[in-house]
């Protein structure tokens, strides 16, 4: 039996930097930019913040910097509050949010800042890829020549074999995400691409080509949480955190029950929907972790919006565009909007918040969105965080 009563939590402000190659900005500058935007939007002072959680995957390997919690607290002028860096590979940002949410929901803190930051382009791509490969089982996957695109390609190939997915549908996912990204001022890539460009791009790991893979980006995002009962003091449009749930699975793909399903996503989604008392049919838009195009299709299924083996049909028919039955990745997803790994989970939440408030650019705004969902994955599916947000 639980001994405490959970408090309702709201997001009172949300901000993100542009994603991309920020040659003029370091890790601290990016965190600062997102932090200042969020604090100003909430109309609070740094002194009001009681606790800081920062998602960061590999400051150590990307910029030779660890101890990111205290570093960001110091740079944002938040000392001496407790500050914490959390790491769960590409799900670091989602986990940071989950931690911050627990801190407010439990009643321990009122005003909590949840950030995510990653500076990836200071190192050569070879080195960045090495850092990222730490998210898989090093001894039994990377050691034998596996790469991240390779691991997702193994999922894609098996999925094609079992469910009749064609490479053309994968390409359609990329085309859709670039289309959404083209309208997002903060996106890493703002160019639209044609189906042929995506389909005939150079191979990375067959069947995944260049446009099936997300980029390496710099970026940061930060949201500020408060108990719902006082949230209106800071904003007219608080966004309610209906639930945030997290689950784990085997680090390596070879030990999975089924490589075409991310069980961590299934478990996190089931829990998130149960806690939120919300049905799938009430959700107006979703932000999913499309590190590779196949991942978007698997996410749609594993979150429960389509049966296993049928999610690709939604993408094929264009139902995932803004204006479709279920808009997916309205900011361009990881593919076009960018994937600053530790920041991504928070950046997705920023996108949902802006959508629910009706604040995004024309053309990619989902009309009258009431409920949105963010889905963040670490590695090839060892960690998943699902967060459901609703308009207050």
């Amino acid at each position: 039996m639980k001994l405490y009563k959970k408090r309702d939590v709201a997001i009172i402000s949300a901000a993100a930097t542009k994603c991309g190659e920020h040659w003029d900005k370091g890790l601290k500058d990016l965190a600062w930019e997102a932090g200042v935007k969020a604090v100003e939007e909430a109309g609070i002072s740094g002194k009001d913040i009681e606790y800081l959680v920062v998602g960061n995957m590999s400051g150590g390997m990307f910029v030779g910097q660890e101890h990111i919690g205290a570093l960001v607290a110091d740079f944002l002028g938040l000392n001496p509050i407790p500050s914490l860096r959390v790491e769960g590979a590409c799900a670091s940002g989602g986990i940071a949010f989950f931690q911050g949410y627990m801190a407010v929901a439990s009643g321990l803190y009122d005003i909590v800042a949840v950030g995510g930051v990653e500076k990836m382009t200071d190192v050569e791509q070879e080195h960045a890829t090495t850092a990222l490969s730490g998210a898989m089982d090093f001894e039994w996957e990377a050691y034998f020549g596996a790469t991240f695109p390779g691991i997702y390609a193994l999922m894609a190939r098996r999925y094609m074999h079992e469910y009749g997915l064609k490479k053309e549908t994968l390409a359609k996912v990329a085309v859709k995400n670039h289309y959404h990204g083209s309208m997002n001022f903060l996106a890493h890539f703002r160019n639209r691409i044609s189906l042929d460009e995506a389909l005939y791009a150079p191979m990375v790991a067959d069947p995944l080509g260049k446009y099936d893979c997300c980029p390496i980006s710099d970026g940061a995002a930060l949201v500020i949480l408060a108990p719902l009962e006082i949230a209106r003091k800071y904003t007219d449009t608080p966004i309610i955190v209906k639930s945030s749930a997290m689950a784990s699975d085997t680090l390596s793909l070879l030990k999975r029950r089924d490589i075409c399903t991310l069980d961590a996503t299934v478990h996190a989604a089931e829990k998130a929907f149960r806690l939120a008392h919300i049905e799938r049919s009430q959700v107006n838009l979703i932000e999913v972790h499309d590190c590779f195009t196949i991942a978007e299709i698997l996410a749609i299924e594993d979150l429960g919006f389509a049966k296993k083996g049928e999610g690709w049909k939604m993408c094929d028919e264009g139902q995932t565009y803004v204006g479709g039955n279920l808009p997916v990745n309205t900011d361009g997803g990881l593919k076009a909007s960018g994937h600053p790994v530790g920041a991504t989970g928070v950046k997705q939440i920023v996108e949902i918040v802006k959508q629910l408030r009706g604040e995004v650019e024309r053309g990619r705004q989902v009309n009258n969105a009431e409920v949105g969902l963010a889905h963040n994955v670490g590695g090839s599916g060892a960690t998943a965080v699902v967060t459901i947000l609703a308009r207050g």
Binding site: M61, E126, T129, T130, S133, D137, F138, E139, W140, E141, A142, Y143, F144, G145, A146, T147, P149, G150, A153, L154, M155, A156, R157, R158, H161, P202, M203, V204, A205, D206, P207, L208, S252, L253, L254, K255, I259
Partner: protein, 141 residues
């Protein structure tokens, strides 16, 4: 991949050379890579070492075109998830097979190969790769 210390190669060498996994003597489940606990039986389980036959089928595969430096000279190479006849799956390269010939369901068998060389100190790592089963006569490789 960053620098790998010689002991890190050595610790896993037996398992990588001979395809050693583990088996729960309580429920009969087999595991690769070897585990220390049976997730089904927990404390009641009894884990023992077991050597796999090396026979299996390709469960899924990809052709890697863009690889880390130490694997670059092998590109394009086939990376596969091989389902062993004893049940567990392993991730491995498929050799003695052209990329256009590989398919899901293909019978393969383990062989002993060089995996990669690291720059600098010259530690060469070895381990299993798989090749098409009907190629078993090609021992000269």
């Amino acid at each position: 991949m960053s620098h790998i210390a010689p002991p890190a190669h050595w610790r896993r060498a037996k398992e990588r050379y001979r395809l050693l996994g583990s088996k729960c003597e309580n429920c009969g489940s087999t595991f690769f890579p070897p585990t220390k606990v049976c997730p089904k039986c927990r404390r009641k389980g009894k884990i023992a070492q077991t050597e796999f036959s090396g026979k299996g089928k390709i469960y899924s595969y990809t052709i890697i075109h863009s690889a880390p430096k130490m694997f670059e000279k092998y590109t394009p190479y086939i990376l596969a998830l091989v389902e062993l006849e004893e049940g567990p799956k392993v991730m491995s390269q498929i050799v003695d097979c052209k990329p256009e010939e590989v398919k899901i369901g293909m019978d393969v068998e383990a062989c002993f190969r060089k995996l990669f060389e690291q720059d600098g100190e010259g530690v060469i790592s070895y381990g299993f790769k798989f090749r098409p089963a009907d190629n078993s006569w090609k021992t000269s490789y």
